[in-house]
């Protein structure tokens, strides 16, 4: 099977400022990739490049073998953005939001089915079936995030990209969230790309870790990462890794 995402010496500049430099790495089918790095290290920019929301200023990117800006088969990709806040005044129902994840598979003309079954399946995966008729604005941050994940899952994607999905969510909800990701990756074979600050959890869950600070500082199996002390190189100072399990420190 061919690679899902290939970055080949990709760089990105905004008004002369280098945000990403010479990034090269490959995501294979079935990978669970964690991307970590300090604020401003270019994590979100990297995701936006993969999603075709930005075009690289140098180098090349392939998603399912196609440049993302020319990519058309969007059903294969699910995207959960960073803390998209909904206008609470806007009356949008949970199922309406999830249904918008299906627009790519809709025909332009003709009504077509609204995909009621897949919508309720996706809501079931995130445990929100009962809230299908609620206003999104009335939900908690964690519940809104789960709605966005359901929206990303509704088209049954092969690649799911999540940008700091656990921001503002309590630990309990987080652990059920990671259980969901685990299930998707191991049972359903969904390739996952997860940007997070939560180094401990990321290290435990992912199969491949990329440390980013404008450049890729480390890329490989997480267990190799923690023996090589690259966190100091990444953050420029001694970092204590904290997870939900008893914290483990690395000098």
């Amino acid at each position: 099977m061919s690679d899902v995402v290939v970055l080949d010496h990709a760089s990105m500049e905004f008004g002369g400022a280098r945000v990403l430099e010479d990034v090269t790495f490959t995501i294979e089918p079935g990978d669970f990739v964690g991307i970590i790095g300090p604020n401003g290290s270019g994590k979100t920019t990297l995701l936006r490049l993969i999603l075709g929301l930005l075009a690289p200023s140098a180098g090349s990117i392939r998603v399912f073998g196609v440049a993302p800006t020319a990519f058309r088969d969007w059903r294969r990709i699910g995207y959960v953005p960073q803390r998209t806040s909904f206008d609470a005044a806007l009356p949008v129902r949970v199922d309406e939001v999830v249904t918008t994840g299906l627009v790519a598979s809709r025909r332009w003309f003709g009504s077509g089915s609204s995909g009621r079954d897949v919508v309720s399946d996706a809501l079931g995966l995130v445990g929100m079936t009962e809230r299908a008729g609620d206003r999104v604005g009335a939900l908690s941050a964690g519940q809104q995030q789960r709605v966005l994940i359901a929206r990303a899952l509704v088209s049954n994607p092969e690649l799911l990209i999540l940008d700091e999905p656990t921001g503002g969510i309590d630990p309990e909800t987080q652990s059920s969230f990671y259980a969901l990701l685990h299930h998707l990756n191991r049972e359903r074979g969904v390739t996952l790309v997860l940007v997070s600050h939560d180094i401990g959890v990321v290290a435990r869950e992912v199969t491949k870790l990329a440390c980013l600070n404008r450049r890729v500082i480390f890329c490989g199996r997480p267990q190799d990462y923690f023996t090589n002390d690259p966190l100091t190189a990444l953050y420029g100072t001694t970092v204590r890794v904290v997870g939900h399990e008893p914290p483990c420190a690395h000098a």
Partner: protein, 456 residues
């Protein structure tokens, strides 16, 4: 059937109004959440430039408005997406730019007969059958487009990045929304006028958002409220003799204040109460602006001894034409028989005696009394009502001099406009007669209509 429904102009106003009321919130619901509420206001000002350009270029003002507004919509969208200017800054540029163009063009074309008041505040009660076809056609285009694109438009409205990664061509659809907004603006402009367009797009949408529990529900609620505002506003306008567009918008505001998110605030209740009082007082304050529009021409008749009379031809506006024809053409044959004419003369024409039929005639500089006009005749010219009558000039032998005529309503109830050649003369070749409007030197406004004559 209530009386107002028996009038064609009211039927047309209601049909056009309901179409407008359905379309405006259907587009507004995709604009308001994205902070683009003022785009309609901006496009309406651009449309004003289009109306003026159409008049200068000699094409239909509606065509001018459509073309220029669509072009403006594309321009705004380009500025917005390129990030050259933030959304509201590009709107401000187009709004003021459109207005400035319009003012200059209207100034240049002083000769043409722009009813600026109607363009600014709408003239829903003078909707013609042609207008109705146009409004219906544009309405179908906008409605079908929104119906087909609804899932994608909803995705864009929630979050543009998410929509893009779900395969929605966001840039193209934003352009489509903006152009649909332009079409909607041109429709709504005909109804409520340039200055009130954004009210029809924004107010029902906000009320819909406040009341509904889903986006689709908000759309239908907004449409329903807009239709209720439109019909109620028109009926109020008819019975209280208010400006139709403004009373529609005030009705929408009252509904919004009662149902919308602001209803807890005392200021909203005060505003609603004020709007109601204004609507109620409307009837007594109805004299402040013209209620009838009459185009006229004047012909001075000469006999063997000089000027004998002034023949005046009034052409009524559509609404008044319809009202009067409906009432006095009893046998509905499209003509006024001798008996019908007599009834009309007694009931209506004779009562204008108190106003001297709005005609002033000076012969050789001296005003002559205007009384007992002769040969009253009413005509139905393709639905437009004409009054023709002659103001006699007292007999005397005159070799040379002038006849000056003014047609004016000092109370501004009726707006009189001289059209065509304005003043002409007919009579025996024994007089050399020259007729022309006399204009004030600076403003070029017509002061009076004058014929000079001299016996050969």
């Amino acid at each position: 059937m209530p009386e107002l429904l028996s009038y064609g102009f009211m039927q047309r106003a209601l049909i056009a109004g309901v179409i407008t009321a359905l379309i405006c919130p259907a587009i507004g619901i995709f604009l308001v959440p994205r902070r683009l509420s003022l785009i309609a206001d901006t496009l309406a000002h651009v449309a004003l430039a289009g109306v003026a350009l159409g008049l200068v270029a000699g094409v239909s003002p509606v065509v001018g408005a459509l073309v220029v507004t669509a072009a403006g919509a594309v321009g705004i969208e380009r500025l917005r997406t390129r990030g050259a200017l933030t959304g509201d800054a590009s709107l401000a540029i187009f709004l003021s730019g459109g207005l400035a163009f319009a003012v200059v063009l209207i100034g240049l074309g002083r000769g043409f007969n722009v009813d600026l008041f109607a363009v600014l505040f709408g003239s829903i009660l003078t909707v013609t059958v042609t207008d109705l076809w146009m409004i219906g056609g544009l309405g179908v285009v906008v409605g079908v487009a929104i119906g087909l694109l609804y899932p994608r438009l909803l995705a864009i409205t929630l979050n543009e990045d998410l929509a893009r990664t779900s395969g929605v061509p966001v840039a193209a659809l934003n352009l489509v929304i903006t152009v649909l907004t332009a079409l909607t603006t041109v429709i709504a402009m005909r109804m409520v006028g340039v200055l009130l367009v954004s009210a029809m797009i924004v107010i029902p949408t906000l009320a819909g958002f406040a009341l509904a529990r889903s986006f689709r529900g908000a759309l239908f609620t907004a449409m329903g409220l807009a239709v209720v505002s439109m019909v109620t506003g028109l009926v109020l306008a008819y019975y209280l003799r208010l400006a139709a567009g403004a009373s529609v918008v005030l009705t929408a505001l009252v509904l919004f204040a009662l149902t919308g998110p602001v209803r807890r605030f005392r200021v909203a209740r005060v505003a609603a109460a004020t709007a109601l009082v204004v609507l109620a007082l409307g009837a007594t304050r109805a004299g402040a602006h013209p209620h009838a529009w009459i185009d006229y021409t004047v012909t001075v008749r000469f006999g063997a001894d000089g000027p004998e009379g002034v023949r005046v031809d009034w052409a009524f506006d559509e609404m008044l034409s319809e009202l009067i024809i409906q009432k006095y053409d009893s046998d509905r044959d499209g003509k006024f028989s001798a008996r019908e004419t007599r009834a009309l003369e007694q009931d209506h024409f004779s009562r204008l005696k108190d106003f001297n039929w709005f005609v002033e005639v000076k012969v050789d500089g001296t005003a002559i009394p205007v009384k007992d006009p002769k040969d009253f005749e009413a005509q139905n010219v393709k639905g437009q009502l004409h009054y023709l009558f002659i103001v006699p000039i007292p007999r005397a032998t005159r070799r040379e001099g002038t006849v000056e005529v003014n047609v004016v309503d000092a109370t501004f109830y009726t707006a009189f406009t001289a059209i065509g050649p304005m003043i002409t003369a007919e009579g025996p070749p024994s007089y050399r007669i020259e007729c022309a409007p006399v204009r004030e030197a600076k403003t070029k406004l017509v002061e009076t209509l004058r014929c000079s004559y001299r016996r050969r």
